[in-house]
């Protein structure tokens, strides 16, 4: 095999005032023809910077300080801009993480694909259209004739990512760089895209540099693996070697932090329900107005379930299946259209606004986005004590309790007087947990509470939740799209699809003996499932 790209001693400097002087430092790697190289590492480890440097797309202020990247006997880092332009798209192509925003919203898909040809002056107008159609077919987009005339907003996330791939493949590049192309997609779609990339690699024999932070994905597609940390390569080798026998501590820790498929022991659950949901319905009507017709989405459609005291109930399902809506209805952030929500026996739906505010503390929520869920202009102590003080707890007492809780979630009490931006994502998520606990809730709804976090931090938060469940007899409704995480923490799991509850059962039932076709599909789509079960077996 011949080497498509070889990066040698690449160092990329960050502008002044950045968190460290170099985004990547002395990084070397090589990709062979037809090979998939996975670059893994935590957020901020310099994965994207490496890729952007190759494309000549470094953000302003960020510069290549040293090293070279040889591609077909040329150093792509030092080409003049015109030659770089000729290279981009034609020889090296790239796809990005965010399919929702990576396409020009005002341009038809077909035009955006054809533009690649235009940029490199290939073919005539008519041929370009033909080629675009072919590409759309190749990435298996449905109804190509229609898609070619569609605008991005008319496509789903997965479809958009396929369109992106079509663009990237247009000129049969020798190297495809994929920067976390599936992170924003749900599991089933992710599985399809991964399969597509594998197929195309097969067909075209191109080299792929695949950036991810998900070892499941690595296990699924990688030939070679590079592990990065704080801008340096800490480990490299074949996928087999790295996954099975990691050498470096950091890699080991990363792997350890990944929830294994091992199922927790069954626990005996209490009889008293903390949360009862009966025939819950929520329909979203959008638009509507003078002359417009309203559009209806049945986000939650006649769902009934209970969460027992001290139980952790996992709620899984594809994106848009109504998980969040269910959770938000349970805390009455969303007013249901029908059905009952009983928290500790009280029907929240029947309460007046005033009474509701008094009962609020019983159910609390941990939010998905640790950045958005804290008011950037409020000190941590305020965020935690606001609720209790509103309930009538004297300020002194509330503050003392807040400090105590901060200790419990593993943050020093001195965290209290700081502002959110002084904390990392994981720390903020802990603050969120402390805030929920401060209200002495009976039930906590955790909506994708760990999805935004790096695996190692994810593990810490999960540990914390487990500990709290034990200590405080908390009930938790744990919403996630990550079945592996669900398997770790939950007692029972409920599966949702298109607003309906399709299956509910103990973790063991769902994982080992799923009843519904949909559940089986979900399970199968988890990346690295095979590798996972191997690990589980060896663990």
């Amino acid at each position: 095999m011949s080497t498509t790209l070889s990066i040698e001693h690449l160092t990329i400097g960050l502008p002044e005032g950045a968190d460290r002087p170099f985004a990547v430092e002395d990084v070397s790697m090589a990709i062979e023809k037809g090979e998939i190289l996975c670059v893994v590492g935590e957020s901020g480890s310099g994965k994207s910077m490496t890729a952007n440097a190759l494309m000549g797309l470094l953000p302003p202020g960020v510069t290549v300080k040293a090293g070279r990247a040889m591609f077909e006997a040329r150093d792509v880092l030092r080409l003049p801009e015109t030659e770089k332009m000729a290279l981009r798209g034609a020889e090296i192509a790239m796809i990005f993480q965010e399919p929702m925003t990576a396409l020009n919203p005002l341009m038809r898909i077909g035009d955006q694909i054809a533009e690649v040809f235009a940029a490199h002056d290939r073919f005539t107008q008519a041929e370009r259209r033909e080629k675009a159609l072919d590409l759309i077919r190749e990435v298996q987009l449905p109804d190509p004739e229609k898609i070619i005339r569609a605008y991005p907003f008319q496509l789903s996330g997965g479809q958009r990512q396929r369109a992106m791939i079509a663009m990237a493949l247009a000129l049969e590049p020798k190297l495809l760089i994929a920067d976390e192309p599936t992170t924003a997609l749900d599991v089933t779609t992710q599985a399809q895209i991964l399969k597509l990339i594998l197929d195309l690699r097969e067909k075209r024999g191109m080299a792929v540099m695949f950036i991810t932070h998900d070892f499941g994905v690595v296990a699924e597609i990688a030939d070679q693996v590079i592990v990065m940390r704080e801008g340096r390569v800490v480990e490299r080798g074949s996928a087999e070697a790295v996954l099975k026998a990691p050498q470096h501590d950091y890699t080991k820790r990363l792997l350890d932090a990944i929830p294994t498929g091992t199922l927790p022991e069954r626990r005996v659950l209490s009889e008293t329900p903390a949360l009862e949901i009966k025939g819950l319905r929520k329909i979203y009507r959008t638009g509507g107005g003078f002359f417009r017709e309203a559009r209806e989405v049945r986000a939650v459609d006649d769902v009934s379930l209970t969460v027992a005291r001290g139980e952790v109930l996992g709620l899984v399902g594809e994106s848009g299946s109504g998980k969040s809506t269910l959770g938000r209805t349970a805390v009455r952030l969303v007013t249901p259209d029908g059905g009952q929500v009983l928290v500790g026996g009280t029907d929240l739906a029947a309460l007046s606004d005033e009474e509701l505010r008094k009962q609020r503390h019983k159910v609390q929520m941990i939010f998905q986005d640790p950045y958005a869920s804290l008011n950037p202009r409020q000190r941590i102590i305020g965020a935690i004590t606001d609720g209790p003080i509103t309930r009538g707890v004297p300020r002194k007492e509330a503050e003392a309790r807040a400090r105590e809780l901060l200790e419990i979630v593993g943050l020093g009490a001195d965290a209290a007087t700081r502002f959110p931006h002084e904390f990392s994502g994981g720390q903020r998520q802990r603050i969120g947990i402390a805030r929920a606990l401060a209200m002495d809730p009976e039930l906590i709804i955790a909506d994708e509470a760990v999805s935004a976090l790096d695996v190692s931090i994810q593990a810490q938060v999960l540990d914390l939740l487990r500990e709290l469940r034990q200590k405080m007899e908390l009930s938790i409704l744990f919403i996630t799209h990550d079945l592996r995480v669900a398997a770790q923490l939950c007692d029972r799991i409920a599966v949702m699809q298109k607003g309906k509850l399709v299956e509910i059962g103990t973790v063991h039932d769902i994982f080992l003996d799923p009843q519904q076709e949909y559940t089986r599909k979900l399970l199968a789509a988890v990346p690295g499932a095979d590798w996972d079960s191997q690990r589980a077996a060896t663990a």
């Binding site: 609020r360 939010f367 958005a372 202009r377 209200m439």
Partner: protein, 277 residues
């Protein structure tokens, strides 16, 4: 943020200019022994020709430099107060509309639209004519025509902040809606409001001068617009009478705009990565 602002050359130039204007306004009585209406010399003395009258005299023999200094007071005062009043109208309206949505929003926005539909300078003219030109009525009129953009801005900001999860968190903490609006949402909209306010002061100064130019100024207060309006009829024979106040307005408005741009860059750092600012 201050660091970023300071490193912006334009903004610093703006600050220096504005400070100069403010200082002149504050110390006008110390700088000039006579008041700006007093006839001190022959009329139409050219600038730099007579000692003690650096900028010459006007049609009645009054000291142009003193008028300029006292005019700064009025212009700045009108600019600041009218902006403040506009904020007092626009912020609550926009905040309520954005926060409560639904009929409140619909009603508030209709109301705002209504004011935006009437050409605002024309409305200001009518208001001032109706309430008779006094400093108060001019300020109020300017405020009345300049609040709608504030309301729109605040509404948009509040609507976007309202969707952030910390608002949900506050709801779950049992905080009341007004409390959430005032304590959690609004503080997060201040930066764009500050930026806008700095530009509004500039616009208000221009508006006041335009009204004065049309003869709708307060005849008892010396303002730059008054000076230009009074001098336009002699623009051919005594250019300095309209030139200096014109330059004063340009400088002040420019300074405020530069500051506004600077604030904009400093407060909305698109350069830094999301969430880390």
């Amino acid at each position: 943020m201050w660091k970023r602002f300071r490193s912006n050359l334009g903004a610093m130039v703006g600050v220096v200019l504005l400070l100069a204007v403010i200082l002149i306004a504050i110390f006008a009585p110390l700088l000039f022994s006579h008041d700006p209406w007093q006839m001190v010399q022959r009329p139409f003395l050219a600038p730099f020709s007579t000692d003690g009258l650096p900028l010459g005299t006007d049609t009645l023999g009054r000291d142009v430099a003193a008028q300029l200094a006292y005019g700064a007071r009025v212009s700045l005062l009108v600019g600041l107060v009218s902006t403040l009043v506009a904020l007092l109208i626009g912020v609550p309206l926009g905040a309520l509309a954005g926060f409560y949505g639904g009929y409140v929003d619909e009603g508030a926005m209709r109301f705002t639209e209504f004011f935006q539909t009437i050409p605002n300078f024309a409305l200001a003219i009518v208001l001032v004519a109706i309430f008779e030109p006094t400093l108060a009525s001019i300020t109020l009129a300017i405020a009345i025509v300049s609040w709608p953009p504030v309301a729109r801005l605040v509404r948009a900001e509040v609507m976007s902040v309202r969707k952030r999860e910390f608002v949900d968190a506050a709801t779950l903490a049992g905080l009341s809606k007004p409390h959430i609006l005032v304590r959690q949402v609004l503080p997060n909209t201040v930066s764009p409001i500050i930026v806008m306010a700095s530009l509004m002061v500039a616009t208000a100064i221009l508006l006041e001068s335009s009204l004065s130019f049309l003869g709708l100024g307060d005849p008892n207060t010396m303002s730059w617009g008054y000076m230009i309006g009074a001098a336009r009829t002699v623009i051919r024979s005594a250019w300095w009478l309209s030139f200096f106040p014109g330059i004063a307005i340009v400088i002040t408005v420019l300074a405020l705009n530069l500051i506004g741009e600077g604030l904009n860059d400093a407060l909305n750092p698109h350069l830094s990565r999301k969430g880390k600012a």
